[in-house]
Symmetry: C2
Subunit: 215 residues, 2 copies
DNA sequence: TGCAAAACGGAGGGACCCTCCGTATACTAC
DNA sequence: GTAGTATACGGAGGGTCCCTCCGTTTTGCA
C-alpha cells in the first residue's frame, strides 16, 4: 500500500519561501510510515525505532529527522490510516451500490482499528491532550461515514435517522469493547449494526419510527 | 507515613512450612513501597527504578527481588493506598460524627487519586487485564464507603438511597474527568456531591424522593 | 555463640534512545 | 551538460535505563 500522495505537497498560493522537500525525503517519509504501521500493529507501541528504520531501509538518523518523537510517528501513522479509510469510501461508492459500499467500509474500519490496536497506548494520550488533532481526524472520518450513509439513504436502502457521527461512535465502540486480539467478534457485531441500518429504510417493508429502540 | 503492618504476615492456622520473611526484608519492602508512591506521584510512571531503590536506601537488586516487574511495584503501591484509605475510614468514624467523617474521607479520596495520577498509565492496563485484582481492591474500597454511608444514615444525617458503589463511582468519576494537575476543582465538586448526600437525609427538613434528579 | 538460610548490594552486559557531523544526493541556474 | 549549494542521509557513539548474577552481609534459630 503506497502512502497516498503525501498530502498535497504545497498549496500554490503560498510564496515558495519554503521549498517542497526533496524527492528522496518524501519517499523515505512514506517508507517510514508504512514500516511503522506494520511494526506497531505486529509488535505493539514499544517496537525499537531502530527496527522501524531498518525495515524501512533507512538510517536511524533519517527516522529522527522526520519524526523527532515516537508520538509524532504514531500521529503520522494514524493520520495516514484515516486518509486511506476516507479514500476507500469514495472508491467503494464508485464501484458498487451504496449499501454494499457502506457494509464493506464498516468492515474495513474494523480491520483498521485492529491494526491500530498496538499503537493504542500511545494514541490515547495523544488524542486526549491534542484536541484539534483529534477533532480534525474525527471530522474527516465522520465526513466519509456521512457520505456513505447519505448515498444509501438517497438510494432508499439505508434508514435516514442515523448520522455519520453516530455510526462512527457505534462502530468504534464495538471495536473498542471487544478488545481481544481477534476481531471476528467485532466483524459479526458490526454486521449486525449494518443490518440495523437497513432495517427501516425508505424502501423497506417494515419501517420503524425514528428513535425506536427495538433491536 | 509508615506502611501499615505489612498486611498481616502469616495467618497462624497455616503450618509454618514457609517461614515469615526476615525482618530486614519486611522493612525494605515497606521502604520501597513508600519511596515508589512518592516517586510515581512526583515524576510519573517512568521514573527509573534505580532512583526508587536509591531513595528507599536499598540496592537495585533488592528492589528487583521484591518486585520483579514495574507492574508488580505499581500494584503493591496501589494496594497499599487502598489499605490506608480503608484504615482511615475507621479512624475517622471513631473520632468524629459520621457525616463529618464521610466528608473528610471523600476529600482524602481526592488526594489519593491525585497521588496515583502518575501511575495511571500503568495502572489502567493492570486493572483491565487482572479482573480479580481490581474486584478485590474495588470491593475493599466499596466496603469502606458503605460503612461510612451507613453510619451517616443511622445518625439521620445522610440520605439512605445511595450505596457505597455509587459513591465510589461518583467520586472516582469526578476525579478522573477533571484530569488537570491540580485537584482544586475535584475537591469543590466532591464537596458538592457531599452536600447532595446530606440533602434528603431522614433528619433533613427538605427530604426528596429517592431517584429525584434535582441538584 | 555459631551457623545456615535468607537477604543484600552493585558491577556489568545488553537494549534502546537520540545527537552530531562527515558524506551523498537532488535540485537550480547557467 | 555541468557546477554549486541547499538538503537529506547514515550510523557511530555517548548516555540512560534495565535486569541478572554472585560474592558479601545480616538475621534468626539451636
Amino acid at each position: 500500500m503506497a502512502v497516498a500522495e503525501s498530502e498535497a505537497i504545497e498549496p500554490a498560493d503560498s510564496v515558495s519561501t519554503d521549498r517542497r522537500p526533496r524527492a528522496d525525503a518524501i519517499r523515505n517519509r512514506d517508507l517510514l510510515i508504512t514500516a511503522a504501521a506494520e511494526a506497531f500493529a505486529a509488535r505493539g507501541a514499544d517496537v525499537p525505532l531502530e527496527d522501524i528504520a531498518r525495515s524501512a531501509g533507512v538510517g536511524i538518523g533519517t527516522l529522527y529527522r522526520h519524526f523527532p518523537t515516537r508520538e509524532s510517528l504514531v500521529e503520522a501513522v494514524y493520520r495516514h490510516e484515516i486518509d486511506v479509510l476516507c479514500e476507500r469510501a469514495d472508491q467503494l461508492l464508485e464501484s458498487m451500490p451504496p449499501e454494499q459500499a457502506l457494509a464493506e467500509w464498516m468492515q474495513l474500519f474494523v480491520v483498521h482499528v485492529a491494526t491500530k490496536r498496538g499503537m493504542l497506548s500511545l494514541l490515547r494520550p495523544l488524542l486526549s491532550t491534542n484536541p484539534n488533532f483529534s477533532d480534525q481526524t474525527r471530522g474527516r472520518a465522520t465526513a466519509a461515514a456521512t457520505k456513505l450513509l447519505e448515498a444509501g439513504v438517497a438510494a432508499g436502502t439505508i434508514r435516514a435517522d442515523v448520522d455519520g457521527g453516530d455510526l462512527l461512535r457505534a462502530v468504534g465502540g464495538i471495536c473498542m469493547s471487544t478488545d481481544q486480539e481477534r476481531s471476528v467478534a467485532s466483524e459479526r457485531l458490526v454486521g449486525l449494526l449494518f443490518d440495523g441500518l437497513r432495517h427501516g429504510a425508505a424502501g423497506s417493508p417494515s419501517a420503524t419510527q425514528p428513535g425506536d429502540a427495538s433491536a
